[in-house]
């Protein structure tokens, strides 16, 4: 994809965070364009999820800046991130198991009646509408989400991210717990969202999940950025080389975590 004429949606610049002396994310810069899928790759513990949690507001970075649409953004809480149109589908899904799908869909952003009470009927109607598009087989609107299958739970988490018109979507291992059919559903969805101009960060420790879906990959290791590359310019093996030994191929842009 040709990005030269477009303005980046997100620019993460020189972001760092450490926990008790461990540099979980160390001076990392990544950007994301509208309609682009950037795969964030690396071993478990490479710092991918931590980096993304800074963007989604659950961690506060120690240093560095984040720009949204070219403007400096202040993201201190998940609520701030959502105000910028950043929605996150967490690896753990972050669903409250004891309440139903509609309650999870609107958690923190409930619809209320003019009197200020919960408008459960309207929320259920909205949930039925969005779930009907996403997963037409979904019928369990009255049950707590603990009663749902892995795929159904995943679709609730996805619906939550999409319902509020996300412009930037973060998907942390979105297909890790899914069967082949549900994985295909998620992949089709990603293609659809790309068309709508939504920028997507796709995180995985498994390159096969990501490589075919992503326009670019950014590889992390030990909290540092190994490098970024267009998926069209490198092979899967070269990408694996970046992940495993930090070897950056010719067509990639090396970061501070590169081995040479």
């Amino acid at each position: 994809m040709d990005m030269t004429n477009k303005k980046p949606l997100v620019e993460i610049k020189n972001v760092s965070i450490s926990f008790g002396g461990v540099h979980a994310v160390d001076d990392v810069s990544v950007d994301l364009y509208p309609g682009e899928v950037v795969g964030l790759l690396g071993h478990n513990g490479a710092g991918k999820s931590t980096l993304i949690k800074i963007l989604s507001g659950s961690y506060k970075s120690d240093g560095g800046e984040i720009y949204i649409d070219g403007e400096k953004a202040t993201i201190k809480t998940p609520r701030d991130a959502k105000a910028y149109g950043i929605e996150t589908i967490y690896q753990t899904l972050a669903l409250a198991d004891n309440v139903d799908a509609a309650a999870n869909l609107f958690l923190g952003r409930e619809l209320t009646t003019p009197l200020g009470t919960l408008d459960d009927v309207a929320m259920e109607a909205a949930a039925r509408e969005v779930m009907g598009r996403l997963n037409p087989n979904f019928k369990k609107f009255k049950e707590p989400v603990s009663a749902l299958s892995g795929g159904q739970r995943q679709s609730v988490a996805i619906a939550r991210a999409l319902y509020f018109n996300a412009r930037i979507l973060i998907m942390d291992e979105p297909t890790a717990a899914l069967g082949p059919q549900e994985t295909k559903m998620v992949n089709d969805l990603i293609i659809e969202l790309k068309k709508q101009g939504i920028g997507i960060f796709l995180i995985s420790h498994d390159i096969h999940d990501v490589f075919d879906m992503a326009d670019r990959v950014a590889v992390m290791n030990n909290g540092k950025l190994v490098g970024t590359a267009n998926t069209a310019d490198i092979t899967k093996d070269e990408a694996l080389g970046m992940i495993i030994i930090g070897k950056v191929p010719e067509n990639a842009i090396a970061g501070s975590g590169a081995s040479q």
């Binding site: 004891n98 309650a103 958690l107 923190g108 919960l118």
Partner: protein
């Protein structure tokens, strides 16, 4: 042949099960709640049998209502605490210190300022009590939320601190008598609303029940959701109204002692009819307070964002946080609420005793926790209902007064209550495994 009958009886049994399931689905009655109501009725019947018919009488049921009120009020707050994976061991001691302070305020401070028996005394006292309770609760909650000290430890400390404070304020002296208007909150002869007002309250409640059922149906129609069958709606309306009117009938069938009735007749210049004068107590004020609290807390739990956040936080604290819910503020508010409810509990208890003593509310924390837990609140968080807590309080009180009625020894009473608590939670765990 025998095989044949076996199959038949199996079919019959599963047919019965299906019928029950259809019934519960149609009425949307929570099976756990239904089970608790049945258990409560069973307890009543057993005690009635063994006490020779003295348990299910207007007098005993009326007293049961009054005696359950304080614990029921506080148990609704404990539901929020337990649902959010916390615990409050200090509620009995909070009740003690707040009761003591309210006692001093109305008996020793306010009469000097506004005059003895002034109408405003009870309002000022109760308001001050609730404010003290909310402050204590919010303080404990902020220790839990911001310092990260487990609620068990914070409130264990509170149990000692507030009990000590109750003692310290008057050096152990009992404060009495209390303000006359304040005492109405404790029930008793004046603390009931009488015959006609009770029926009026009952009828208003029935209208409210009908309205809420019709309104819920209209809402669901608006969005073309599946509706409950009409027979189920009608049945529920009758069931609920029947329970309300039944309670009113019971309270109105409990009469003032004949000497008190005679005295009232004399004051009003009435002649006493030959068959004797029967003046009904009617609904006791503490019970009305408890029901009011239950309705408000149920509303908060089910109809407000705050209530939704309490349950979501209890179900998955991380998810709540990631959704942008301010979980620290939430924790402080929950503890503030139970502090305020401890003040209402203290008002009911001291008003009933007509005194504030420093032994007030000792071991109440355990009754309150037991009521919430018997009422279906899960200590692992996320699950609990306000109505369940009310039923739990009734179960606890029914056991206690029933055992007194049948003349069981005190040590045996504690043993039974302890066993019932564990057994009830065990049954609930079984049910949950089976259902979930």
């Amino acid at each position: 042949m025998s095989e044949d009958t076996n199959i038949k009886s199996n079919n019959k049994q599963s047919g019965f099960k299906v019928a029950i399931k259809n019934f519960l689905d149609a009425t949307e009655i929570d099976p756990r709640m239904l089970g608790m109501i049945i258990a409560l009725l069973a307890i009543w019947l057993v005690f009635d049998f063994f006490s020779g018919g003295r348990f299910i009488t207007p007098r005993n049921l009326w007293n049961l209502g009054v005696q359950s009120s304080s614990v029921a009020v506080m148990a609704t707050g404990m539901v929020f605490i337990i649902v959010t994976r916390n615990i409050d061991l200090s509620i009995g001691s909070m009740l003690g210190v707040i009761g003591m302070l309210m006692g001093i305020l109305q008996a020793e401070i306010l009469p000097d300022l506004v005059g003895y028996g002034h109408w405003s005394i009870w309002i000022v006292t109760l308001t001050a009590g609730i404010m003290i309770g909310v402050t204590i609760g919010a303080f404990q909650g902020s220790l839990v939320a911001y310092l990260g000290v487990p609620a068990f430890i914070v409130t264990l400390g509170g149990l000692l601190v507030w009990r000590g404070a109750a003692w310290w304020t008057t050096s152990g002296r009992t404060v009495a008598p209390l303000d006359d208007n304040f005492r109405l909150m404790g029930g008793g002869i004046n603390g009931s609303i009488g015959y006609w007002p009770s029926w009026i309250v009952g009828i208003i409640a029935c209208v409210a029940i009908l309205y809420s059922i019709v309104n819920a149906r209209r809402q669901r129609k608006r969005f073309h959701f599946p509706l409950r069958p009409l027979w189920a709606e009608t049945l529920l309306a009758f069931l609920w109204s029947g329970m309300v009117l039944g309670a009113v009938a019971v309270a109105n069938n409990y009469y003032l002692p004949s000497r008190v009735a005679a005295k009232i007749a004399e004051e009003k210049g009435l002649t006493i009819p030959e068959e004797g004068l029967f003046i009904s107590y009617g609904l006791p004020i503490p019970l009305l307070i408890a029901i009011g609290v239950v309705i408000v807390m149920h509303f908060i739990a089910t109809r407000t964002r705050f209530g939704r956040y309490i349950f979501a936080f209890g179900g998955n604290p991380e998810a709540a946080e990631l959704s942008g819910i301010n979980t620290k503020k939430l924790t402080i508010m929950i503890f503030a609420i139970i502090g305020g409810l401890a003040a209402i509990g203290a008002a009911i208890t001291t008003a009933r005793l007509n005194a504030a003593t420093n032994s007030l509310g000792i071991l109440d924390e355990l009754l309150v926790i037991a009521a919430a837990v018997i009422g279906g609140s899960s200590l692992s968080g996320g699950i609990g209902t306000i109505a369940g807590a009310l039923l739990g309080a009734l179960v606890m009180q029914s056991l206690q007064s029933g055992m007194i009625l049948v003349g069981m020894d005190s040590p045996m009473q504690n043993i039974v209550v302890g066993i019932v608590l564990v057994f009830a939670v065990f049954i609930d765990t079984l049910y949950r495994k089976h259902a979930g």
